[in-house]
Amino acid sequence: MNKQVFIIIGAVIVLILSGIWVYLLFFGTPDTADNVFANLGIDGEEDTTIVEAPVVAEEPVVNMTRQKLRQLTTKPVAGFKQVQRTASSTPELYYAEMGTGHIYTINLESGEEVRLSGTTIAQANEAVFSGDGSTVAIASFSNTKNRPLVAGSLNTTTGAFVEKFTKSVYDFSLTNAHEVLYTTTGPQGLIGYSNNLDTAKVQNIFTVPFTDATIQWGSTPGSSHYVYPKTSYSLEGFLYEVKNNTFNRLPVQGFNFAALANEAIILYNASVDQKIVSYIYDRETKVATPLDAPLLPEKCLLPAEGLEFVCAYEPTVITYEYPENWYRGLTNFKDTLWLLDGESMTAESLINTSESGREIDAIKLSVNTIGSVLYFINKNDNTLWMYEL
């Protein structure tokens, strides 16, 4: 066959294929899917019922449940107080920022934080508020044991801080009646004073015949204050009650001695066989009962009355050196909060603070007036925390 015939045959085939392609392009679409997919009858009869799409409840992205244990500040805190300006007002939490002495308030319902006072108290490291929040005393860092203290009134509307009292003090407290209780050192020991910020009246309230003392202040100048020589594992300590200028020895003592007292009980530590043992001394029955686990009174909160108290501690054996290593900042605790009953001698674990994901070494425990919320500072970073009781 010659070349001409091949070309003619090829061209005819191409034409025929092109025609088929054009036909399929414009006329070849099936009317229904059934024309493409054959029903082989595998699945039986067709089910033509309409299937309702399932309703999927939307999960909120953010968990709005408030944890009982919450961090309140990221700033380090020198001191704080839950304040209720009037009987019907929303409770607020006042705190003084460490380092600057600026005062903030946190609305405990909305969580809003507002700065009340921008007055700077340089190197502020400890602050105490009165119950109504109208008075504050702030102490600053010092190279000596006596440190500068500034106290005054706080206008919670304008934020103005009016300084009324300034002195170098050894220790201090503030009453709800706007009285600064403080001690100064002298040759005869520690002298306790009360300074009423409203009337400027100063009175001597006690004299302690030694200087290196830890003081548990009472709520008024005339109430009981408890004093003991600072804690040491090798020097014995004793507890004294000072009231109305009388100095009364209480029947508890020991090495590594630290104590918290009220009218009913004394919680105190003493070393036994090179271990710390905590005791509850009943002031009525005059019996001291040892506790199963050692506590540090510095990490406890004892109310003015009653036998129930809260402590933060890590369930571990505290050896006789441990309190001093903690005081020096060489070691810290990972606390569990406990509610203890001095009458039944039972303890209830409230919460292991590691559930927060942070290491918490709780100090400066405090409760609100109705005992529903516990506040404390984390010694590791001085941030403020709360726990709903």
Binding site: T100, L235, G329, N380
Partner: protein, 319 residues
């Protein structure tokens, strides 16, 4: 003559009968009660023993009474235990001794428990935030205070005799001397004792305690202008910014040595560095350019007259 003999009988017979019952208090000849400890504290248990070795007659029975109440379970015991009361509250303990022929003798002891607290305040260095008590180190000054509770006599009307080991402080008794100063002697332990005596010579209370003396130790804390000194001791500090200030705290170093050290030297990686002018215990560390690494910072402080008064310590800085 018969009147003479009659008078003699009248005079002698009552005397012989009057010896049938004798109350013997403290200090009399004859039997006595010994208390252990001799000067009991309040609310403690003391042991009271009958000392009748001087008696020639045999004791047939012993009845013990505490505040007038007979203690039946202690009948015929030579030693009993008694719990003392609160400070200053007396307890009367009596032992009624029975001899042949129904003759009895009462021996009495009055317990007056007192608290005698010796408060030791060593004048050694601790940081301002430290809530523990300073400890004594060799050569450091001790402020000693004696507090007696349960006795109404003012302190100024009592005599105090202080001893450190065997040395009497200030050479003898001091009227009103409830506060004295002494130096910490050589040795790891020292005995401190005080006797408190009334003006009539009666010893009211006596106490001896054993006190250890420690070697000073050095710890380091970061100092910032905003917060002052941190409360956390550092062994390793990361230099995040351009510089950091670290302050050394020599715990329990004698204050006199701390304020005026004979020898104080900082070293960086073994090389002596200049002592800071403002505060010799404070060093400011700066990052050397864009370099990275670690350095060891060392401080040595010492009293060259009393070599045991000193300390050396170090920490690492990572930059």
């Amino acid at each position: 003559m018969k009147y003479f003999f009659f008078a003699l009988i009248v005079l002698l017979v009552p005397v012989s009968f009057s010896a049938a019952q004798v109350d013997t208090g403290i200090g009399s000849d004859g039997p006595s009660l010994e208390v252990e400890p001799a000067y009991p504290s309040p609310l403690t248990t003391v042991s009271i023993s009958l000392n009748d070795y001087a008696l020639t007659e045999r004791v047939l029975a012993i009845t013990w009474r505490v505040d007038g109440t007979a203690i039946s379970e202690a009948a015929n015991q030579r030693t009993i235990s008694v719990l003392t009361k609160d400070a200053g509250v007396k307890t009367t303990v009596e032992a009624v001794l029975e001899f042949t022929g129904g003759v009895t003798q009462v021996v009495r002891k009055v317990l007056t428990p007192l608290y005698l607290d010796i408060i030791i305040e060593p004048q050694t260095k601790t940081p301002p935030f430290y809530i523990g008590r300073a400890l004594p180190s060799i050569g450091s000054t001790l402020n000693l205070t004696a507090l007696i509770s349960g006795n109404s006599t003012p302190s100024k009307d009592l005599l105090y005799t202080w001893r450190v080991n065997r040395d009497v402080v200030d050479g003898g008794s001091l009227r009103g001397g409830n506060k004295v100063t002494a130096a910490t002697p050589l040795g790891q332990l020292m005995l401190i004792s005080v006797d408190v005596t009334a003006l009539d010579g009666t010893i009211l209370m006596r106490k001896t305690i054993e006190v250890p003396s420690v070697t000073p130790s050095l710890y380091f804390y970061e100092y910032t202008p905003l917060y002052g000194m941190s409360h956390k001791a550092i062994e390793n500090i990361n230099l995040v910014g351009a510089s950091a200030t670290v302050r050394a705290e020599p715990y329990n170093l004698d204050i006199k040595t701390y304020n005026n050290p004979d020898f104080l030297e900082w070293e960086v990686d073994g090389t002596k560095t200049a002592t800071p002018a403002n505060n010799p215990y404070e060093i400011t560390l700066g990052r050397p350019g864009e370099t990275y690494g670690t350095s060891r910072i060392n401080l040595h402080v010492r009293n060259l007259s009393q070599l045991l008064q000193g300390s050396e310590g170090d920490f690492q800085v990572t930059f």
